[in-house]
């Protein structure tokens, strides 16, 4: 017994190394296949507040640019509004008819260089943010809410190898999955589009209607380049994103009011 204890004490650094390395490996490898760690993420109180106060300062530098962007969007929305028929304007204002609720939030931490990028925003559970809400900007989609704390939330960016979003080609209505291969942060990949679909470089890609997270027809990007996959039956399409992922300040969160109903219905259908 004494010898065993002596042995352990003598190699205590090696044991400590092995033990701590095992813990880190478990945390890392688990989140390769599952969700981001629930306990260790930047939506927490300390990290959120540090990023929040840094963002308070740095947000002043882009104010003019950001204002221009928001005015441009207002202009576009006004145009849509004025060209609508009158009765369809009144109807959506009644909250019982609204299928999608929209919240605004500010980005306090952005990341786009690692293979699994997460973004932190300054709204959390207290402001009505829930897991699996869609996140968009004025230009296009950004990601999906993954973890929520009381005042902050982390968003799984489209620039994440775990991200998988239903998307379609705007005019032909063929849909596939939007993924990311971690190579270029201006480009995402659309897969599972059958080879019979006619493609043109420059076609617009938008979100599809199969997802209960994003509404249909939110812009994603344009086709930059396409080729057939190794089996030769599906296209791999490089999509140039509308969003400049390196320069984002204000975001919108979308909540689908019917998501719960859709989810329970789907769960029941697969059980039977």
């Amino acid at each position: 017994m004494q010898r065993i204890i002596n042995f352990v004490l003598r190699y205590r650094n090696a044991f400590l190394y092995g033990f701590l390395a095992l813990i880190s490996l478990i945390i890392t490898v688990r989140s390769h296949s599952y969700h981001q760690s629930k306990f260790f993420n930047s939506s927490k109180w300390l990290t959120g507040n540090v990023y929040g106060s840094a963002a308070d300062v740095s947000s002043y530098f882009g104010l003019r640019q950001e204002n221009n962007r928001l005015v441009k969007e207002n202009e576009r929305l006004r145009k849509l509004l004025f060209n609508m028929k009158v009765d369809s304007i009144i109807q959506p204002l009644d909250s019982s008819f609204v299928a999608y609720e929209v919240l605004s939030a500010k980005l306090i931490k952005n990341s786009y260089t690692s293979p699994r990028n997460y973004i932190t925003i300054n709204k959390g559970r207290n402001q009505g943010v829930k897991q699996d809400m869609g996140v968009i900007t004025t230009k296009g989609i950004l990601g999906i809410v993954e973890n929520v704390s009381s005042n902050f939330a982390t968003v799984q960016s489209v620039l994440n190898t775990k991200s998988n979003i239903n998307a379609k080609i705007k005019h032909s209505e063929y849909f596939g999955s939007l993924v990311w291969t971690a190579e270029d942060y201006t480009m995402a990949q659309l897969i599972d589009i059958p080879r019979l679909v006619p493609l043109v470089v420059g076609d617009t890609i938008v979100t599809g209607g199969m997802s209960s997270i994003f509404p249909e027809n939110i812009p994603i990007g344009t086709i930059k380049k396409y080729d057939l996959n190794t089996a030769g039956s599906f296209y791999n399409i490089d999509v140039e994103l509308f969003n400049d992922m390196a320069n984002i300040k204000n975001v919108y969160l979308i909540e689908n009011k019917n998501r719960e109903e859709i989810k329970t219905l789907e769960a029941r259908t697969t059980n039977e």
């Binding site: 190394y17 880190s24 989140s31 981001q36 260790f40 840094a54 952005n110 699994r116 190579e183």
Partner: protein
């Protein structure tokens, strides 16, 4: 003794803040975010309790992990660097680093840069191979290791000569 604890605690906090608020957003040439906090392992006193050093390094990596949403990648990379540091020192400075009166003042500039470079290399290799975790992306891993590694080395060398301690 007390002074050294205070100094290292101060460095710890300052390096975490510098890493997460400045260097994680740097994106030099599109995708290079240098890990300047590796200089902590270079600056940490040579004659110290190795177990405690490993625990502190793990904690440093772990805090940076929480800030940058990288699971436990920084923790395991930092831990490995801390564990391998005595071996790297023996390799760079020869056997005389084990003597009592050894200090950085008795070493050449090249030895110190080589020491720093090896620490950074170990950190980068562990970090990026676990981050991507796929052999089909070996070229991407190598590209990231050398791209980020060289920028980190330049920055750390600058920092080490800028804030070089007068007394060891």
């Amino acid at each position: 003794m007390n002074n050294s604890v205070l100094l290292n605690g101060f460095r710890f906090v300052l390096l975490v803040l510098a890493q997460v608020l400045i260097f994680n957003n740097l994106s030099f040439m599109g995708s290079i975010n240098p890990f300047v906090y590796v200089i902590f392992f270079y600056w940490y006193p040579i004659k110290s309790n190795r177990t405690f050093f490993m625990l502190i390094s793990f904690l440093l990596g772990f805090i940076i992990d929480i800030f940058s949403d990288t699971m436990a990648l920084h923790s395991i990379a930092s831990l490995t660097v801390a564990y391998a540091r005595p071996v790297v020192m023996r390799f760079c400075f020869g056997v005389n680093y084990e003597f009592q009166n050894f200090s950085f003042k008795n070493t050449t500039k090249i030895q110190r840069v080589a020491f720093l470079a090896l620490l950074i290399l170990i950190h980068q290799v562990v970090f990026f191979s676990l981050e991507i975790l796929s052999f089909t992306h070996i070229l991407l891993i190598l590209k990231k290791v050398f791209g980020t590694g060289i920028v980190t080395l330049v920055l750390c060398t600058l920092f080490s000569s800028l804030f070089s301690p007068k007394t060891e």
